[in-house]
């Protein structure tokens, strides 16, 4: 029983990180129908910015988080303007390969600058722990911070998407970009905002994961990127609450599977869930069934 609770706490922490990355995937997919493969690498850049801020500039945790979010959102907008805007009207497969090329560029460009070695992320949080059940279940400060920051960021996002004018424009463009443009929404600007917000969330996830696992390397974005993408698909891609739900679902399932014997098949589980979800409910657990018109 204690082990179950412990694993749930770990699962929620991991799930928060997946959810934060998945949000960016889902928002970008919702608005321009592009699987942004470079998103996992923006998260990696976020982790490195956080590392630089805490190690070289000796900043605290919150300033590092904010700096990393700002840098990542600028990077996201640059990627959108330079790479994705020229191919917005080309075929799906050309768009996908462009996204992959951006991803490779970020990974190996970063590797060239920071060298491929794994770096140790400094411990910036106080080593406090909360224990339950006579010390059997431990909740680290890290877990608490990750969950807390994820929840705060999601609340801000929810407020932004549903209560502000830009948020309304984002929802309009993702519903029908041509109609939105006719109604006077600046589509280009809205897409840039979407990339900025999604990338900022990925940057935050990068710093959080640096704190959680204490190690970062230039290729760290690939696997969590794919997993977060799976999370977005599980929840229903394009649906913001779906990404959060899918992220937590995947995080919990993964930790539970690796806790109860199947750690070598941990990654396979995520992909099996993905295929099952796609077969049973291709629009995701929270997706609506859209009829195709001929």
């Amino acid at each position: 029983m204690e082990q179950l609770f412990q694993q749930l706490i770990n699962g929620i922490s991991l799930g928060s990180i997946y959810a934060l990355i998945a949000l960016g995937y889902t928002m970008v997919y919702g608005i321009i129908n592009l699987i942004n493969f470079a998103h996992g690498d923006i998260y990696m850049v976020g982790a490195y910015v956080g590392f630089a801020a805490t190690t070289f500039f000796h900043l605290g945790f919150i300033p590092a988080l904010v700096i990393s979010m700002v840098v990542c959102s600028i990077l996201g907008v640059i990627i959108e303007k330079v790479a994705y805007k020229p191919i917005r009207n080309s075929t799906r497969i050309a768009a996908l390969i462009t996204a992959i090329s951006v991803s490779l560029f970020l990974e190996y460009g970063m590797m060239y600058f920071v060298k491929p070695d794994t770096r140790t992320f400094p411990n910036v949080l106080a080593e406090n722990r909360i224990t339950f059940f006579n010390g059997q279940v431990i909740m680290d400060m890290k877990n608490l911070y990750i969950i807390l920051i994820t929840v705060i960021l999601m609340l801000i996002l929810q407020y932004f998407v549903h209560k502000t004018k830009t948020g309304k424009a984002m929802r309009a463009v993702s519903l029908d970009s041509v109609a939105a443009e006719l109604m006077g929404v600046n589509v280009n600007k809205t897409i840039s905002y979407t990339f900025a917000i999604g990338s900022a969330l990925a940057g935050a996830a990068g710093v959080l994961v640096g704190i959680y696992y204490n190690s970062i390397n230039p290729l760290m974005g690939i696997v969590p990127g794919l997993k977060a993408f799976i999370a977005a698909v599980i929840g229903g891609i394009g649906i913001i609450p779906g990404a959060v739900y899918g992220g937590f679902f995947l995080g919990m399932t993964e930790t539970l599977v690796s806790a109860y014997g199947g750690s070598i098949f941990k990654d396979a589980v995520a992909f099996t869930i993905l295929i099952l979800i796609l077969l049973i409910k291709p629009n995701g657990l929270m997706g609506k069934n859209v009829q195709e018109k001929v």
């Binding site: 090329s101 490779l104 794919l226």
Partner: protein, 316 residues
């Protein structure tokens, strides 16, 4: 069309001549083992690209799991030739059959999906195959499968590559191939005109997978050693890049793409740190300025179509 038409005989002579001339160059040592290695890589890449082109280019089914079929072929061939000691031919046949079976298995359930969703599902399938291979001790697990006999030589590479290209070209020109092309143009319209879309999509997957399996067996029996991580997500992307680079829906394009990208990556080996950066930039530039690929949908024609029958058909 007659089997012994002028066209077929000349084509056959050209194929045999190119085979014999390269074989002579190998025999007198002009082509050393390093050059041979690159020829083998190019041949394997051509088989992979042409077979993926059948699935993605001609049938329009977006697959990101082609390396998984290759890995199934490689492992089956390794098991057959090492553990059972059968000759290479049996290994190739079994690897093609096993990969085709996997193609059917992945094809049937995932064909309800379209576009991006299918791409993700095949990606997931590829990763599952890789993780399973990592955890099966019988085939070496993460350390890989060692001591595979080297059977692949110029004859195998050449005739299997030429055979793949010819078979797939002829398949596309056949009734069944046109059904596949119809599916990629407009699936609903194809279904409305009586094309059994599920059957042809599974067929395309099975044929494409079988040839990928053959490429895998050539790979395994050339490099002595295979490991699951050689057939990961990036390998699938590499194959897709060759196909898109050459032109989706063009067999000639796939061949040109395989040769060009193999040569590009050969040159990029001189700058190992920046290799992938330059590679990604090349990809990006091609996708932005020539998204339809080098050849688009055009094909090379060895013989201009002439004769009265074709002329009258065109004038109608």
């Amino acid at each position: 069309m007659k089997l012994f038409s002028k066209r077929n005989i000349i084509g056959f002579l050209i194929i045999m001549l190119s085979y014999i001339s390269v074989q002579l160059l190998i025999n007198n040592g002009t082509i050393d083992s390093y050059l041979m290695l690159n020829i083998v890589i190019i041949g394997i890449n051509i088989i992979l690209a042409v077979s993926l082109n059948l699935i993605t280019g001609f049938t329009g089914q977006f697959s990101l799991g082609h390396a998984a079929f290759m890995s199934i072929g490689a492992y089956v061939s390794a098991i057959v030739t090492v553990k059972f000691g059968f000759p290479f031919v049996i290994g190739i046949i079994f690897s093609a059959l096993a990969a085709a079976l996997a193609g059917v298995l992945i094809g049937i359930p995932t064909l309800r999906l379209k576009g991006d969703y299918l791409a993700i599902a095949t990606l997931g399938f590829g990763e599952i195959v890789r993780i399973l291979a990592l955890n099966i001790d019988y085939i070496g697990g993460a350390t890989g499968f060692n001591d595979i006999p080297q059977f692949t030589n110029w004859a195998w590479i050449f005739f299997l590559t030429v055979g793949t290209v010819l078979l797939i070209t002829n398949f596309i020109k056949s009734y069944h191939g046109r059904a596949c092309i119809a599916i990629s143009e407009d699936e609903i319209a194809a279904e409305a005109t009586g094309v059994n879309t599920t059957y042809y999509k599974v067929l395309a997957f099975a044929i494409g997978a079988a040839f990928a399996g053959i490429a895998g067996s050539l790979y395994a029996n050339y490099f002595y050693f295979i490991k699951p991580d050689s057939f990961g997500f990036m390998k699938s992307i590499d194959i897709l890049v060759i196909v898109v680079f050459g032109g989706l829906g063009s067999i000639g394009g796939s061949i040109v793409g395989a040769v060009a990208l193999s040569i590009i990556s050969l040159f990029l080996q001189n700058i190992p740190e920046l290799r992938m950066v330059v590679y990604s930039l090349i990809l990006f530039i091609i996708m932005v300025y020539r998204p339809q690929g080098l050849l688009g949908k055009h094909e090379f024609k060895l013989f201009k179509k002439g004769g009265k029958i074709n002329v009258s058909a065109e004038s109608k």
